[in-house]
Every structure is written in C-alpha cells, then in structure tokens.
Symmetry: D2
C-alpha cells in the first residue's frame, strides 16, 4: 500500500508521520522546532523524514506550515512564528530529501485530513472550522481543497462579523475570530464574571478568585459543573459561530460543518448553541436541506494525515 | 465547430441562443413567458429550441432558470416567479427535444458566461456579483462553477452584512442585498433627498419633485451631472459592496471580482467607491496581491452564453 | 384639598378624571374619540370636563395628547392619529371651559404620574419606559419633567440602538423600538417559531398553528407555561431594552427605571432579562450605585393622574 | 460686583481664576499638580486661592475635578489620575480656606461655562461635547446642569454607539468615544494611511513617513492642505459624532450642541460632516426645528469660568 509522509511544522514542535492510504499513521516522530534559522528548520524536517524512511518506503512528502504558501505549493511566503520569509521550502526539501515535497497551509492540511478520513469523510462539500486560540479553517468544494487564487482562501477568522466591531490583530475590525475563538471565550467569561460575581462563583473559584485569573480550561470545567456564567460564555461564542456559519452557507452551501480545535473539546456546551443559532439565521431555511454540524474526529493528527494525503495526490 | 443552445428562462420572457465554442451567439430568438402552467412554459422552451435547430446542428441544451436547481441539475425545486414546483424540467425537455438538457440556476449560468468568455475570461478563481433589483452572483473556484452540496451556493445577497440589520424578504435581517442593490440605491437616494433637499435638487427635478418620485435611472443621471445626493447614494451602495467583498475574499481569495447588473451601468460612480472601500477592509492587505475589480462585459447575454457552454460540458 | 382634572386623549377614547393632591382619582368618565373634526374632539373634551365639574370644584385642567406639543404647552403641533394639525388646543379649551388648560404629550404625562405617585414616587431622577405597541417614555431630572427645547424630548423609542438596523416608521434605521416593543416581541416570536417549530409547539397551539397566527397575548401565556420559544422571545426583547437603558444611564444616570406598558404585564419574564443585560452593559459598573428597575404601578391611569398634577402645578 | 474663584484641577496642573458675574476672568494663576499625596494637592489649591484673594474679595470657590463627585458636591469619590479616593475635598478646603467650597466634575463645570457665558449662552437646553483625547461633555436641561442621581450623568463618551463594537477602557464595547475622539481620529488616520499610501502622502510626509508616525496635529494640517486621507479621517469622526448626537436629541431635544475640545480646532473639517450626518439621522427631521451645532468659544478657560459661576450659585 502506498505510503506518504505528512509533516506538521509548528511554532514549538515539528511532528511527522508515515500515513497509509486509509489515513492511518503507521509511524511517527517529533522534535522541537529550531528557532535560530531557516536552515536549522529545514535540516530538522529532513532528519525527521530520513528517520521515518529507514523503516518505511514512502512516495512523497507534504509539509503543513503555519503561514501563507504560494500557488505552486512550494514557497512559504509569510509565517508569523518561524524565521522564514519567501522561503523556497519545497525546492530545498525536495533536493535534500530526494522525494517530491509539497508545502501546504497547516489549516488547509488539517481540513483536508478531516475531509478525507475524519468527520467529513465522504462529503464532497465541507467547511472545517478550527476554534483554537483564534479561528481557522479549510474549505472543500466538490472534493477539492480550495486554496484561492493566491493561496489566501479559508481565512475564515477574518470574515467580518460585526461592522466597526472589535479590533483584530490583522488591522481590521469586527473579524469573526474576535467573537468566536479561545481568546473570545476567555474575554467573554472574564467580562461576565466581573459584572455578575454571584453567578460566576464556581468559575472564579477555579482560579485565584479574580476575573483576570480565569483560564480557558476553567470555563469548560465550570460549565460542566453548571456555572451560569461559564455556560453563558459558551452560549455567546457558539451563537457567534452559528451566525457566521449562516453567512458561509449562503456563499458555499456545504453539506457538513466540522468544528475542531481546543475549544471544541467542550462538546455540546459549544455545539448546541452553534446549531440553535445557525438554524435561526440560515437564509431560505424552510426551502433547503440542513447541513450536519459535527465535531472533528482526528484531533491533533489531522494536519499530518491531511498533509500525507495531499502529498500522495501530488 | 460544436454548437450548443443556451436558454434564459425569465419571469417575463424566454430568450434562447445558439452559441459556438468561442461564446459567440450565432442565432437567437425569444418569446414571452407563458404564465398559465408549467406545461406551457415547457412547450415554449421546446419550440424555441426547435426553431433554432432548423438552421443549426446543436449538441446539447441548458436552461438557465430563476430558482433552486437540484444537485443533478435536472429538477427545478423552487422558483419565486414561475408556475413550477419540484418540476422535472430536465427530463421533460430532454424527452420532448431529443437532446441532453441540463438545468442551471440563472445567476450561476450568467456567472459562468462571464468566467468563460467575459470579464473573468482566463481566470481560474472569480466571483461575479450582479447588482440588479437584488444582489445575485456566482462563484468560480479552480475553473469550476461552485453549486454547493444542495444547489444553494452563491446566494451572495443573503450573506449577513449587518447583524440585526434591515429586514430581508428571505426572513432574515441584515442581508447584503438590503444594502447594495438597485432597491437599496433607490431607498438610500430617497432617504437622503428627503433630508437634504437642497443638495438633492438636481435629482428631485428629474422626477415629480418628491423623494418618492425618484426612480433608479434618475440617480445615475443626476450623479453624472454632479448631484451631491445622487453621488452620495452611489458611494453608500459601493461602500457596502466593497465591505462584503472583503469578507468574500477572506473565504475564497478570488483573483477577480466581476460586477454586473443594471446598477453597474453607472460605471466608475459605482466601481470607484467599491474599490476604495474594498482595499481598506481587506484583511492582510499588505501581504497579498489585490484582485482586480472589473465591470461585466456580456450584459444580458451572459446567461445564454454561460448556459450553452455548460450544456456543451455536460 | 385642591382638585384638578386630567384628560387622556387617545385615538379611540377620551378618558378624564378628577384627581386630588395625593394622585387619587375621585371621579372619572370617558367617551369614544370623535373622528370627524378637531371641533368635535374639543367639544367632547369640554363636555367631559363639564360633567366632572358638576360634582367637583377643580382648579385647572391638563390634556395628555398623543403627539408633539409646543414649548408653551398650548398647541398640538402634530399627532398621527387625530384630525388635528397645529391646533391651538389649549387656548380653545381654556376659552370654552373657563379654566386654565395645559396640553402635554401623553407619554410625558404618564411618566409624570409614575414619578409623582407611582413606581418612581420620591425619586428625583427617573426614566419611565413604556413598552406598548411601540416604545415611549418620559424623563424626570431633578424632580422636573424634561420636555426639551422644542417639546420633542423623551422620544426614547427613536434612539438608535443598531446602526443600519431595522427600518422604522420614522424614516430612520435601527431605532430602539424596532427591537423592544410589542411589535418587536411579536415579530421575534413569529420568526423563532417559524425556524424552531418543535420548541414553539405550545406557543403555536394557542393560535391557528401557524407563526403568523401568533398574537401578543399568546406569547405571555406560552412563556408562563414554559414554552422555550416564547421565553426566548421575551429574553431577546428584554436584552435589547437593557442595552438601551445602559446608554440612557451613561447620559442621565437616573436612580430608577420604571417599565410600563402592556408588554410589562409579563412581569419577571421581561424584567429579569432587562436587569441581567443592563448590569452587564452599564459603564463603570463597579464604581457606581445601580439604579433600581421596577414595574410601573399606575397602569392606564398614569396619564390622567400625571396630567392632573401638571395642571395643578401650572 | 460679586466675584468667585473657579479652580481647574488637572492631572498635570492646577489653574485658578477670579471670575466676575459676566464670566470674565479678572485674575488667574496656576501651578503644577503635586503628585505625592492628597494633602499636597489640597495645600496647593488652598495656596492658589489665598494668593488670588490677596487682591480680590471673593464669595465662594468651586473646584472642577477630573472624576466622580458625590451628589452633595463635596466628596471626590474616584479619579483616575490623582492620588485621591473618597476624598472629602469640599469640607477640607472649606475649613482651610474659610469660604464655601463646592466640588464639581470638570466636564460638567466646563459645560456650564459654555452654557452661561460661551457658545450656548442664553440657551436653556444645551449639550456640550468635548472631543479631546476621549469624548466628554455636559448636559443642560431647563437652565440647570444635569448631574444625575449619583453624579454620573453626561458620561456621553460611554453611550453605546456600535453594539459589540470596539473595546473601551471602561470594560464595555462600542462606546461612542472609541469612534469619535482624538484617539479615534489618530487610529482612523493611521489605518487609512496604511491602506492607501498614495492618498496619504501629504499626511505621511509630516511625520517619519510611516502610519505609526502620524500625530494628531499632522491630521489637521494635512487636511487643511487637502490630503484625501486626512479629510476622510475627519469625515469618519464627524459622521460618528453626528450619529450619536441624533440619539442624544431623541432623548433630550436640546436647542444647541456645542462642540469643544482639541479636535474641534479643525473647525469646519469636523463640523461639516457632523452637521450633514446629524441631519440625515435625526428622527422626525421634517416635523421639528433643527438645533444649532456650534464650536465652543471659551477654550481652556471654560472650566474655571463654569466652576466660578457654580460657586456663586451655591
């Protein structure tokens, strides 16, 4: 069975895996991301691949990288967290490894993993939303990954949700990820806890007792224990996710939305308000089939699995 | 050279044309849309096709219809303006005409026309926006028309622009077409004229002198003559178009936006504010290439030309 | 004890009462509002006053009228529901009745009633919000009724809540009363019921089973019986009321908000979400005392009682 | 002629003046604000007053202080920039000086100055808006300064303009001052300059050439020289000011708005867009007189002049 290697290049660690045609990781290893230079990063990737190839015969490699990748899927144009700018990563790795090496945006790769082998398996039109610190995602149209004309597609977190709304790190205002992300959840919980201390008692008790002391994991835990302010925080995040998804559906009409990322570990605390709000906001609701809204299933492996599959497809 | 017939089925008239592989209409005819029954409409289409085939040998037919079409591109599920519901239009026409007949949504067909032979020719990733009475459009990703899982894609006019905003006929609030369409232009001009009569003098003089007497064509004419209120009206519509386009780019990253529809005849009066606002609102503006924003070139023929090409592709 | 007459001039009926210095109505009568002419209305008011004076010695009269009243509190400048424009109502009634007759806006008069003898009794700074079909109200600053420079103060329903929001009958967009009023409650309940039929079952069963068949009183009844959609409708209305009140507090810092009008009969179904949202939205929440938020206590008598007291004050 | 002393207590300096009944400052002095302790500040104020009294016989003193003042106008409850909390400033100064000493919020005192002797002279209902770093103001109803039930009235900058909008230092979102203030002007200009470098050339050339190098005074200068981005920045700030003013009018119906503060030195660059937007947004525009919208006339003396007059009134 044809094997390929997927590499998940992160800001703190590089993870690689040999993946078969069913999306199963048959071998994996990892190491910290070198911070000194582009060369050190490239060497680290090459070594990881070399190690894995000692035991496995692989056809191709794809690196999922956190940044903008050119249309040829070869150059890493811009990445906020690594020492690289306009780096011809694909060509350099190909020459060093001796196998075809593609570069893909990491959110796209993870989305492709979920689309091919995870929660959207068998669905031709899917949108994957990753609710982590920010809000990322990937778009699948007619069984193909949408990369856009310049490689900037699926920047879902920067769709405008609220005109003239909260300032975003991207320089714009009212971006979706300001209202629905791990950071947004934390900001909401702290604000509500400051205003409604009695209802926030359970939540506050998990930290140092102050609103500023609330951490992300406290909110999930307190919500599971019935804390009204923690539940209200998930409701707000979920509602804003559902609202934006209605706009995504107006444009793309997917048959499934996959919700992944750390915040999604809260399960129905997040999914229930998403579904309720999405249904209320969807245009032409009574004339159309509803897409399913499900949790991601591959977790942190999605990037490796998706990248390997993209490598195999060439 | 292979010929195909495109049919543009409208609420008041049916237009059909024989189109060659270059997108040139080599023969055309039309008739009023029968309003009595589905049968009468089907007969009228079949007759138009029959007439055209007397002079031309054609391979296939595609009907651009104003409504939702199923994923098999055969059944017209819902249309607001014709006496049809869940009509197996494709099968019935195929059997009556003796050629393969596809059904496609009319905005999609027109978008495909512009993508293949009009303003987006040669561009693999394009978004076509049609500013008519409402706001419609079509989406091209990697040289393919995006239809969505259930045939509802590219309902751009119902993306939410303003949360809790103006009520829309679709039952939702704040839909994009409430702020950027022929109706929105008219509403804006009348409101501004009522508040600022002095600045609206030129505009008001083209009708009966009252804000309610203002018609769509007055606004273009008055703006061309320098009327401040008419110009401000185009500015508002254009700004809202540019804002929504920034959100479309965040999701799809097209290389070209094509602006069509009757309101677009105003040219730079509309295009200039679109471009200015789009540039200001686009996320990661300084890290990415700007798409071009151009006027449509095929006018009312876009639907026939696009439908014929889709017919040929099968 | 000094007595005065308050007249509540409505679109369908005229109610009048003799009121003592404690705000007690010691005698009252009413009749349908003549629709033919201004004269007929004036005669009807004069007759009501005459009848009441047969048994009681009164000092002065004040008519609470539904419209804009000039700064001299004598001319009814504009009223949407009565056959009057720029009517010198005060002068004509004074001459006909032989007593000083003031004219006051009806919402102002009712607010004054609540301020002097109702829920805001003894409070120098109060805002009264009347949630009826629309949203009206009155403002008390330092024990005085705020009328504004031109008699247009306290048009609270037309404060902008949502920029570019729902269209209002006043010609503007996003007015507060579009989001928080009897009409808003009805619109919200019908929309939610159309989207979430299962959760709306109880509510729908009170009418003809369709969302359009829902009436205002159904919503209160269904909410009291635990219907999720009816409760959600009150929550939405209440939240929007609480949000606007936070803005009123930023400008006026009242010590009490009085909530009246028909919708307020739902009691805590409305008051609870108002209070919760108000607290969360109030600026400088932790540095300031919270005002109380209470239901009105005078009901439909507020206008008569308030008008009579204004008459006495001259 | 009766004289009084007004003291303007600022974060960096204390200014005091002897003011006559016409609002003329007949003597003035100032010194830096001591930063060590409340006592040092009180001593400094007392010394300034003592010096002025050597030449003038005064009746009373009022200190305009930057913070919340209690309803008795005696205690400074909270101030962000001075070493004072719940300071019985009035009582301590009265005992030290031997004259009645009132404490008033500084924005209120300045508003009163404009109302009595400045741009709103002779107007019974006025709203003063001070566009400085933030947005402050004062409200005059029926010739009286509105302080609110708890001394928090006229916090105009914290009225909500945009629901879920920009985060404010007060903990809320979408506060008016985030969209219309010196800070908002600077943020807008920098953002526009980053997106539209060609149109911002004049503006950028006044600083170090980067958007971040733009300073407040550059914007006024560049706008006066015709720079499109600088003009657009004033337009945006002015529009948002005009929008909020329409909401203030719905509630209070003043006959004059006075616009003061540093940003207002730009004159018609700011006033013109304010007036245009205000007129378009005002409810019932065609049924009501328009208030005048004028620039403040007292400049930095407004606080001293207003405080002295409040002192005289007791």
């Amino acid at each position: 069975m044809a094997l390929a290697i997927g590499v998940d290049l992160g800001g703190t660690k590089i993870a690689a895996g040999v993946v078969d045609e069913n999306g199963t990781i048959v071998a994996a290893n990892r190491r910290p991301t070198p911070s000194l230079s582009s060369e050190a990063v490239i060497d680290a990737i090459a070594e990881l691949v070399l190690e894995l190839r000692e035991q496995h015969t692989v056809e191709a490699v794809c690196v999922a990288a956190p940044g903008f990748v050119d249309a040829a899927r070869s150059t890493l144009m811009f990445t906020p967290n690594l020492p690289m700018r306009n780096e011809a990563l694909g060509a350099r790795l190909t020459s060093s490894i001796g196998l075809p090496v593609l570069i893909e945006n990491d959110a796209n790769a993870a989305a492709w993993g979920e689309a091919r082998f995870g929660a959207a398996r068998g669905r031709a039109n899917a949108v994957i939303l990753t609710v982590g610190t920010g809000l990322g995602g990937g778009v699948i149209v007619d069984d193909r990954l949408v990369r856009g004309a310049f490689g900037f597609a699926a920047e879902v977190g920067h769709m405008t949700l609220i005109p003239d709304g909260l300032e975003c790190g991207c320089g714009q205002r009212g971006c979706w990820e300001q209202y629905t992300s791990g950071n947004a959840l934390l900001r909401t919980a702290r604000h509500l806890a400051a205003q409604q201390r009695t209802d926030a008692q359970r939540l506050l008790s998990l930290g140092d007792g102050t609103p500023e002391g609330i951490q992300g994991q406290h909110i999930t835990l307190a919500a599971q224990q019935g804390c009204p302010v923690a539940i209200a925080s998930f409701n707000q995040i979920g509602e804003q996710l559902g609202r934006g998804m209605a706009t995504v559906s107006a444009l793309l009409d997917p048959e499934v939305f996959v919700i992944g990322g750390g915040v999604c570990e809260a399960g129905d605390l997040l999914l229930a308000p998403i579904r309720a709000e999405y249904e209320v906001r969807l245009t032409a609701r009574s004339h159309r089939p509803l897409p399913t809204i499900v949790a991601a299933t591959l977790g942190n492996d999605a990037g490796i699995v998706g990248a390997a599959d993209l490598a195999r497809q060439g």
